[in-house]
């Protein structure tokens, strides 16, 4: 195994056992894949193909039925390893805390002193452009801003691996593109490895170094495409000639799987 590889998945499957009249369902796999340290990987696929299940398995939120997941060489069992951050699809801000307290939440453990907490929190808030809203409550913010709070909250813990499950799904297209730029900025500044699950092909194409295309359930990786984009990229990459080609390649691969997932094919 090359020292480059940050996360590996070997023959990972997830099967939901049979119960009360329903047969067992294979939701995922088998998946074999390796995430290189510092890269940005996008995962796309038709609905129901198991993208979220994949993310939860990589994060350690769920155990694979067969196969192994390793992070930094150590196997991931039923516990989230240190150094992993996750941004979820749903709004996960805590409504009873201000933005500042939300961001500081994970840091308030034994071993991190108050001055350090303040510093990291202030940095994260500034980085995500939330300075004007430090004392606001999540209910006063838009969906996009709340996701920024969640990202800041993850940032503050200095994760080496960041997993995002359709974080911008609920946002409109323009906001999504801008949030995508923020994400790229974050990726470059922290040097973390990033895995982003999304249903939006253009988003995956714009943000990723590699894009893994999943089949319909049970989701497997049909293909993994390299984008070869420069590291210093932003949303203007959508106007590059290669971009349209890439996105159509993705759609070519997905189209049949999507039709299967919808029951048309």
């Amino acid at each position: 195994m090359t020292p480059d590889v940050h996360v590996t998945l070997k023959a990972v499957t997830r099967v939901y056992p049979a119960h009360s009249g329903h047969a067992a369902v294979q939701a995922l796999g088998p998946i074999d894949f390796g995430l290189r340290r510092g890269e940005f990987v996008g995962v796309v696929g038709p609905s129901g193909c198991g993208k979220s299940t994949l993310l939860e398995t990589v994060a350690g939120l769920a155990m694979p039925t067969t196969g192994t997941v390793t992070f930094e060489g150590a196997p991931v069992r039923h516990q989230v390893p240190d150094g992993v951050g996750v941004v979820f699809q749903e709004d996960a801000t805590f409504p009873w805390l201000t933005v500042r307290d939300n961001v500081a939440f994970g840091l308030q453990r034994a071993g991190v002193d108050a001055a350090e907490i303040t510093r990291r929190v202030d940095d994260a808030i500034a980085f995500m452009g939330l300075n004007a809203f430090r004392t606001a409550y999540p209910s006063q913010l838009s969906g996009g801003m709340r996701q920024r709070v969640c990202i800041a909250r993850t940032l503050v813990l200095r994760p080496r691996l960041i997993l995002l499950d359709e974080p911008f799904g609920a946002l409109d297209q323009q906001t999504r593109l801008l949030m995508g730029e923020e994400l790229l900025r974050l990726w470059r500044e922290t040097g973390a490895t990033v895995m982003l699950i999304t249903h939006a092909l253009d988003e995956a194409a714009m943000l990723s170094d590699r894009v893994a295309v999943m089949s319909s359930r049970p989701g497997r990786f049909i293909s993994v495409l390299e984008t070869h984009w420069p590291r210093e990229r932003d949303s203007r990459i959508v106007s590059e000639p290669g971009f349209g080609l890439f996105t159509s390649r993705l759609w070519e691969l997905i189209r049949d799987e999507s039709r299967k997932a919808l029951g048309i094919a």
Partner: protein, 251 residues
């Protein structure tokens, strides 16, 4: 709708006024009920002149306060535990549902055997009555917590106790208010009913005495007092709950 509070006061005031008129004109005879104004006077007199009033009030207040705490805290903790053990929850479900259909004060003799006659028994009677409402309410409240919060806690590698204290408890708080309000009401009922039936002191006992002696003034004065106290407690809780809802759900 402008000034709903004004309308509310008007309606409540109107009903009280109607009652006052009906009593004074004799439509409702004095043997059955005395006019609200006289109830107020009786209460004021009690508070100022009755030698037993403050001692009994303090007695009852201590019992009720203790019962409230004993319903809310264990109720929440037990609810937490039951929620974490789905099998247990399924098994206990029928009990939780039927608990308030059965007069639980039939167990008072049992309590007295164990704890003797006195404030401890009364407190436990009150708590016994209120705790199940708190447990049910806690279960529903935790049900409503978005599942993603639990995942966030696991990603941050927070242990179960800290998760319960710093996420579950605050997240459940708005819905817990329902349970708290019920626990307060049931604690009051449990304690006063207990005092009514078999105590040697307390406002419940005074209620029973005045009823048996046909002392309507005292009786209605006490009833009015209990009404007022519970209404105030509820008003405070209601306002607090509304403030939390506004902060959480303003958008």
């Amino acid at each position: 709708m402008k000034h709903p509070a004004l309308w509310r006061s008007a309606i409540a005031g109107g009903l009280v006024l109607a009652l006052e008129v009906l009593c004074r004109t004799g439509v409702i005879n004095a043997f059955t009920m005395i006019p609200p104004s006289k109830m107020l006077v009786a209460l004021a007199n009690m508070m100022r002149h009755a030698d037993w009033f403050w001692a009994d009030a303090r007695y009852t207040f201590q019992n009720v306060a203790a019962a409230i705490v004993l319903s809310i805290v264990p109720g929440f903790l037990i609810g937490l535990v039951i929620h974490a053990l789905p099998r247990l929850r399924r098994v206990l479900n029928p009990v939780l549902l039927s608990y308030y259909s059965v007069p639980t004060f039939v167990f008072y003799p049992l309590l007295i055997v164990i704890f003797g006659i006195g404030q401890l028994s009364l407190t436990i009677m009150g708590a016994m009555f209120g705790v199940v409402a708190m447990i049910s309410s806690t279960l529903t409240a935790i049900d409503r917590i978005p599942r993603v919060y639990g995942k966030v806690a696991r990603v941050m590698r927070i242990n179960r106790w800290r998760t319960a204290l710093r996420i579950t408890l605050p997240a459940a708080t708005p819905h817990l208010f329902t349970g708290v309000k019920l626990a307060v009401a049931y604690s009051v009922i449990g304690v006063i009913a207990g005092e009514f039936i078999l105590a040697t002191a307390g406002l419940g006992r005074r209620l029973s005495l005045s009823f048996n002696e046909f002392d309507n003034a005292t009786m209605y004065g006490l009833i009015l007092l209990i009404f007022i106290v519970v209404a105030i407690i509820n008003g405070v809780l209601q306002r607090w709950e509304a403030r939390i809802y506004r902060r959480w759900y303003r958008a």
